[in-house]
């Protein structure tokens, strides 16, 4: 695990970001008639529709059949299936930590060098994506296991331009401005933030993104890396400081819609709705690039909503850090159709197809940028290109028991009034317990 963590290398987003190498060829594959690929993953509506549409392209081209099954308890279910030996052919892991665990028990099939080379060549910052998908197998040998497909940028704040205009607010460009704006909003009787941590089995994770963004804005990236790998303990004062900074928003009843009590009970999918209610229940919502998929129907990007970069301190010389994440496809069975599907995903066509649907970013250099659904996504590029530091979602890199366990629950406890020290101590204790 620590190895993976170390691989959470910085990679400059200028590399991730698009170059104009347009590859408009349609995908064509070998004849796989009669073969079947089963995929399971965490995607439900509307994303399950998109993956099925993409699968349909593959089916048409190869004659194979593809079945996708989504589950909101995917993370438990894939463990059951792999341990029992009846996994699907492909699994879509929402985070690398779980994939690494599954690799460690021999549940994943390594991908071929061809695939690895394609990632190296076609993905911006290809080496980073390869490193993030390379884990030790059950014998301790490093193998390349997964390809990232559908990545997201997390350091974003969403807002309603109309509301900002009505109130005369300016988009902040520094953390100082953001804090001042928050105070101003509150003093004018507006609620600055909507924060919701609810997410069923995964309740608490949105707060871990806050923590990671804050860590990147208050300390050097190397501190972030040490924190993620636990070389720096979780209850280090630097982490406590970050937690209290999050608390200065989330625990202030005037700053957050519904008061601090509502933070953990509100579902993360519901919480941005406050931006669009009448009167507005909140002004800003910090969330990753996928969140528009959960906005009320009929809203238009750039008109009804927009986003700005979650800014950095102007006084701290830490540049403009950006936090990102992504889902990965890993093969859980070794067969021709499955391996072909993995190759297919690295083709530009499936990338472009989803780009057109929205809520989708790809590091694939071959994808035609004009296929993005809106200017909004093109604008993400500005944030990314302007970034000086890129870090992968830290909780996804922590061991599952922490990054998908005690970190989540700890943050819920924190918003419920437990002190930062107690929370951090408990998380560190759980980390010690699995070492």
């Amino acid at each position: 695990m620590s190895k993976t963590t170390k691989l959470a290398l910085a990679f400059l987003v200028s590399v991730l970001f698009f170059n104009a190498n347009v590859n408009a060829e349609a995908y064509s594959g070998p004849d796989l008639s009669g073969q079947k690929v089963t995929i399971s993953g965490p995607w439900l509506a509307p994303e399950d529709g998109y993956i099925r549409e993409i699968a349909a392209i593959f089916e048409k081209a190869t004659g194979a059949t593809v079945e996708y099954g989504g589950s909101d308890s995917f993370e438990q279910q894939i463990v059951i299936d792999i341990k029992a030996g009846s996994p699907p052919d492909l699994a879509i892991f929402p985070q690398p930590g779980l994939a690494a665990n599954m690799a460690a028990i021999g549940g994943l099939v390594p991908l071929s060098d061809d695939v690895k080379n394609e990632v190296l060549n076609n993905y911006a910052a290809g080496q980073s994506w390869v490193d993030l998908a390379t884990y030790p197998d059950q014998n301790g040998n490093d193998q390349f296991y997964a390809i990232f497909y559908k990545v997201n940028v997390k350091s974003l704040v969403w807002y309603s331009p109309d509301n900002f205009e009505d109130n005369g607010y300016e988009v902040p460009t520094t953390m100082e401005d953001l804090i001042a704006l928050t105070e101003q909003m509150a003093s004018e009787g507006n609620t600055p933030w909507c924060i919701g941590l609810g997410s069923g089995d995964a309740t608490g994770w949105p707060a871990t993104d806050w923590m990671e963004d804050i860590m990147l804005r208050t300390h050097d990236p190397s501190v972030y890396d040490m924190w993620v790998s636990n070389e720096m303990p979780f209850n280090d004062p630097k982490v406590l400081e970050a937690m209290d900074f999050f608390g200065s928003f989330a625990l202030n009843d005037k700053y957050v819609n519904g008061g601090s009590k509502a933070v953990a009970t509100t579902d993360f999918r519901d919480s941005p709705n406050g931006l669009f209610s009448s009167p507005a229940e909140c002004m800003m919502h910090r969330q990753a690039s996928f969140i528009p998929a959960f906005f009320p129907e009929g809203l238009e990007a750039g008109v009804d909503y927009d986003f700005f970069y979650f800014p950095a301190y102007s006084t701290k010389d830490l540049g403009k850090p950006v936090l990102g994440g992504g889902t990965l496809f890993a093969a859980t069975n070794d067969n021709q159709a499955t391996m072909e599907f993995v190759k297919f995903l690295l083709h530009s066509e499936p990338n472009e197809h989803w780009m057109a649907k929205g809520g989708f970013l790809t590091p694939h250099k071959g994808a035609d940028l004009s296929k993005y659904s809106s200017d909004t996504f093109r604008k993400l590029g500005e944030i990314l290109t302007g970034a000086t530091t890129f870090r992968f979602d830290g909780s996804d890199l922590m061991p599952g028991a922490i990054g998908a366990g005690s970190f989540w629950t700890g943050m819920v406890d924190y918003t419920n009034g437990k002190s930062a020290k107690d929370v951090a101590d408990a998380i560190q204790a759980s980390w010690d317990a699995i070492k």
């Binding site: 089963t38 399971s40 995607w43 439900l44 509506a45 509307p46 994303e47 399950d48 079945e67 099954g69 989504g70 589950s71 909101d72 308890s73 279910q77 059951i80 299936d81 341990k83 029992a84 030996g85 009846s86 109309d162 509301n163 009505d166 109130n167 579902d267 999918r269 519901d270 709705n273 669009f276 209610s277 009448s278 009167p279 507005a280 998929a293 959960f294 008109v303 009804d304």
Partner: protein
């Protein structure tokens, strides 16, 4: 008799309190399932029975819709896409003051243009100079919304592709998963009650102990066995017979326990009489025990059916999540999607999936009670 009357009234009152407390949550669900999905998340279900006040944001059309009349530029339309009987009482043009103006009142915008909104949602936006706005102007309305019930949610849940099939799938899972354990366990319970064999008491103790084995911990070992068997015969390890057996396994302890209580309570002389009459154990079972156990079967049928019907975990683990096998609870979860907490699907879905067990309960209620009595009342 005065005292009797008083105590009867007190009894009725206490019972009424219980009934009200018990029915409120379900009633709330029932009402909610008929409500407009937009309203579900913003107002309590009890408000749906009265006219309620709602705040909404709408956007006018943009410059492309303007028409020119007598040198005045106008944008005219209705802010409601569908007429749901809402009556606007006031409106506003900024989020800071959402009910600044009454209906038909003239609101003057910064650029001098004027906007009026009628009760029914029609608006006229007039300007001396041509409109240049690319995006429409937001109008904040406060409207009274009459009680508004809809069957939309039910349409969505019932007629959505795959739900009907999921219903059938669930029946395919539930019926054998209820009947097979009933058959197997009734023979087992009979043997435990009336046959003499080595280790009978130990076996009974094991059954009682098995009542508490947590289902979740069995999943991985079982699925491994399934996979081995599947690989051996080169068939899919996830199939209907597999899920039937799984439900049989998980229901075995409780079904046997309850059935044994019942079968044991039958008079032993009757069974001996049958043996003297020349009946084998199989004759006794089919000709005497079976007809007499119908009430017990009915009650255990209901309990097991309820459990299987409402199960999610076993269905998820032991069946492929494909249209031909997905069960209704899993399908509802899929419908729920990740788009917010889709209350309308949750409420309606919960209600739809409740209907079958409830229908079975009311059909078999008479037997159900009789069966339970015999099984538990007699120590």
């Amino acid at each position: 008799m005065r005292k009797n009357l008083l105590s009867s009234i007190i009894a009725q009152l206490i019972l009424l309190v219980f009934v009200i407390i018990w029915i409120i949550p379900t009633f709330g669900l029932f009402v909610s399932s008929f409500r407009d999905k937009d309203l579900l998340a913003v107002s309590g279900w009890w408000t749906s029975l009265t006219t309620t006040q709602v705040n909404e944001i709408h956007r006018t059309l943009n410059k492309d819709a303007q028409i020119q009349e007598n040198n005045i530029y106008m944008i005219k339309a209705n802010i409601f896409d569908i007429d749901k009987g809402k009556k606007i009482t006031s409106f506003g043009i900024t989020s800071k003051n959402i009910n600044q103006f009454l209906i038909e009142e003239k609101a003057t915008l910064k650029d001098g243009s004027e906007l009026t909104v009628s009760e029914n949602g029609e608006y006229i936006w007039k300007s001396q100079i041509p409109f240049k706005n690319k995006k429409g102007k937001r109008i904040f309305i406060t409207a009274s919304s009459p009680p508004n019930f809809t069957l939309e949610n039910y349409k969505e849940v019932l007629f959505k592709e795959g739900v009907g099939q999921a219903f059938l799938n669930t029946l395919t899972v539930a019926i054998p998963s209820t009947i097979i354990p009933l058959i197997i366990c009734s023979f087992f319970a009979y043997a435990l009650s009336w046959m003499r064999f080595f280790g009978r008491d130990t076996l009974l103790a094991v059954i009682i102990a098995s009542l508490v084995v947590p289902l979740q911990m069995s999943l991985i070992p079982l699925l491994s066995i399934y996979n081995d068997i599947g690989a051996l015969f080169n068939v899919s390890s996830k199939s209907y017979p597999g899920v039937w057996m799984a439900h049989t396994g998980f229901g075995l302890a409780s079904t046997t326990f309850l059935l044994r209580n019942f079968i044991k309570s039958l008079p032993h002389e009757m069974i001996e009489a049958a043996r003297v009459d020349g009946a084998t154990h199989y004759d006794i079972f089919t000709k005497i025990i079976l007809p007499l156990s119908i009430p017990a079967f009915a009650s255990i049928f209901i309990l097991q059916f309820l459990w299987v019907w409402n199960d999610l975990l076993v269905g998820l683990v032991f069946l492929d999540q494909v249209p031909s096998e997905i069960i209704i609870t899993a399908k509802l979860r899929e419908l729920l999607g990740s788009r917010g907490e889709n209350w309308e699907i949750l409420t309606t879905g919960a209600f739809v999936s409740m209907t079958v067990p409830l229908a079975i309960f009311f059909l078999l209620q008479k037997y159900f009670i009789r069966g339970l009595v015999a099984g538990s009342v007699k120590g």
